[in-house]
Symmetry: D2
């Protein structure tokens, strides 16, 4: 055989090639005392000799670091938007804040007793990934976004560190958890109560309402985007967060499209979120 | 334990419940001499006592009847559009025109020597599915659509049977194959040449160019939609088909969005294709 | 000269022909004691021998019956959507609830002492227009929509008469006016306080919150759509109305796009509003 | 009276304030021997001490320099996109290539005997506007776009000067005029034949087909976007131009949406065109 089948080959390339630029890596965390996996998306033609902006992309409660690729096909959207020029080439970091063995470790992005995830993220994971992939490194070169628990995580991380993120995009964000009682009857020994309480303790809404003028000025240095489906069971959290921001004079975008708390919504959200991050990058 | 975790439960429902209304069935074909699988999408609350319109949804060359669900997540889009009222509830039939063992059977939607797929579809599959699921049954209650090889199949089926489909939506359609030479070096015994030739022999473009005034009048009873990505390697086929239709005076819609020949494009196309089919249904 | 310039002619047709199907008419109102103008949009090929569904389209506070055409170019959008099949052909009624001489007559859609506009609309205008243009006539053949003061008017009219409208679409709705004090210093003799008070007295939000189960059941027979820009100065009214509806178990759509309280937003809203009305028509 | 009516005032600001940043100016042209008007759009907060990128926005055959504002409401779209951050602030130049007295001067963007418009544009207008408003000045700070005759003008200007425009966006472009015969019977003395012939003589399609490898390399330094409605009477010109570019290996975007040759289409096109120009600006 001398030739390949032209059409079959073209189709195969179109259908499969993009999947190859998602890589899984493992970092040992001294803070957590365990190894932690993460995925990275590297744009077509990625060259470690060049520097890239970084998007941190956080998953939700019942998922882990594989979800944005395996369920959300972030590569499809990122490839298309970069190829057409709607986005600059960037690296995407997808950390792991989900744990199959819920009795062993809590889920979530915040510090809870015995599991200082936020410390791990900022002290270990972010620096390691930025060094390894030559990306991020400054406020103008970093964005953060996520869905549900990761939407809440994105906002709280950007609230805690407005000096290091240029933009923050929250999809269907779990931005508060005022009523903790739903967690009363979980299996003994489960770490879910820790997760639940950590969201309440890190309420993104209360953070804005209680912010000092100085804090509000710092929040204004970040570009904020709130996005939630009209039939989402936690829509009110997004609306309340947006109102808190607006009432406090911190500019933010709000979008409500048709949809519920599912991957169809989040997959589509990427079409707004990635260009939003991209155009807010600066040197 | 007395209670479920409210949030976890809600998330799980949102994330998983929609997948359960895709069913796989098998029909023995006397025409083909083999069993043939197919998938059906049944809308939420499907009740066999009620009658539903039918959408026939055709897959592409390197896929089979599972692709629209497993790779294209048709259920996500259909569920959302029906729930919001943008579409009426319908049944979707996803036939099988792909075969893993390419040495045994050809792919494709047309009759080739020894494999009369088009006969199977119209004489066996369509009647069986309509009877089994109480759907379709008349021109006003049937639509057809598909991608790539299935885009071509959709158009040709509607050309051959304008009296039984109310609308036809072709995504990235393989609408002609004038140069047959790319198939010269396939493995001995493969059925790919039969597929390739069948597309050339059933050119949707030539069909329009050669149509008599009477045929054109019949084509005008179908609503046509042509949709292809600007970077698709077979874009020109869609453009040429649209021009042939327009030059012949047969109304058709044309859309070119950003994109290539991949599932990101086709998944998004469903947002136009399903409402298009839905609003062209009639009683 | 024997021929027209083909291109010039084609351009002129494309650019100007659509504007001709907006008609202005006048109806004498016994209820109000004055003549009242209104505009109607008649679809291409309008034939009074055929029956058409009717869309009632309400203007905002500082406008009158000419605004949807002259500022919002409703004809452009309606023509395109009907031509492409996204909408069925319909008649649009654009009533007048604005008055240049604010000392003589109040603005607004509600009954105020000496100016029973709501009575005029339902007892005189709607029947006259439906008879004159052979349109509407039943719940399944009527929709209502509007912007700002007209968004509030649409919702309240559909609340008062859920039996005669199939759908209601509110853009940037003035849905309540709890604080009446802003009206204290208007020019003596102005009718603005009457308008202001009428919106407070006809709060669409309080109507839902106070509704009996029977009333809620009647509201569920209407399809509701709430649409407002994220930077609109009265966004919270739309959010509060949607929450009241959702909390009461009455299905409604919510959309928040980018934008403020202006014609760019409303012109774009027509692309959702008109198809929403169209697909909720029934015979 | 001590207070303004809050709501009325807010509405008035929202509705009218944006119109004030369109300015009309006049430049005497030594090349043409007449005064020439032009409009400029200045972004909110425009400050002549700052430098801005420049978008050149060309009108169509039966219009003049006022059309993009008066009929296309470019200010609405530009204001919104800049405010939301989808576009950087820019100046828009709207030149005049239409003349009410067609017996006196030809329309169009090209040099014809006795009317060297292209020379006027590049030698007089562009330098004068860039100096006066502190904008443009380099390839990375200039974009060009237009509709119909102005779509063709945009492409040809960028073909002639790929070194000075970073991007070019053609809407419904009059990109060729192969058949000149339609102009045979125009009124004696009219300048329309000159316009018609100038489009044929400056065919954007033939320019690409005949381009040398060196020319093609220069064309690749510009970002190209082709956009036309599927029912536009000159759609084929856009399709042929795109195919010529693709066949020649010059990357270009193509979009075909629903629509005809009218202002609804072009107004919506601005939502793609302005961000496209904006993200292709560089320093």
């Amino acid at each position: 055989m001398k030739k390949l089948l032209t059409i079959i080959a073209a189709m195969s390339v179109a259908l499969t090639a993009f999947g190859q630029i998602i890589e899984t890596h493992t970092l040992h965390s001294n803070v957590l005392g365990v190894d932690q996996n993460y995925n990275v998306y590297l744009p077509a033609g990625y060259n470690p000799a060049n520097h890239y902006p970084l998007i941190v992309l956080l998953h939700g409660l019942s998922d882990d670091y594989t979800a944005w690729q395996d369920r959300g096909r972030v590569d499809w959207v990122a490839n298309e938007l970069i190829e057409s020029g709607e986005c600059v080439p960037f690296v995407i970091l997808m950390p792991n804040a989900g744990n199959a063995d819920i009795h062993a470790y809590p889920n979530g992005y915040f510090n809870v007793p015995g599991w200082s995830y936020e410390d791990f993220f900022f002290k270990e994971l972010l620096p390691a990934v930025e060094a390894k992939f030559n990306c991020g490194g400054s406020k103008g070169q970093r964005a953060i976004m996520g869905l549900s628990m990761g939407g809440g995580g994105s906002v709280v991380y950007a609230q805690h560190h407005p000096d290091i993120f240029s933009s923050c995009y929250a999809m269907s964000g779990w931005l508060d958890n005022e009523k903790r009682e739903v967690w009363a009857d979980v299996p003994e020994g489960s770490k879910f109560p820790a997760t639940s309480n950590s969201v309440a303790d890190n309420s993104a809404i209360k953070y804005v309402k209680k912010a000092t003028p100085e804090t509000l000025e710092r929040l204004k240095t970040v570009k904020w985007f709130v996005d939630c489906g009209d039939d989402d069971f936690i829509l009110y959290l997004s609306l309340d967060f947006y109102r808190a921001m607006r009432d406090a004079g911190v500019p933010a975008q709000l979008r409500v499209r048709d949809g519920v708390h599912n991957w169809e919504y989040w997959h589509l959200s990427l079409r707004w979120a990635l260009p939003f991050a991209s155009r807010n990058f600066s040197i």
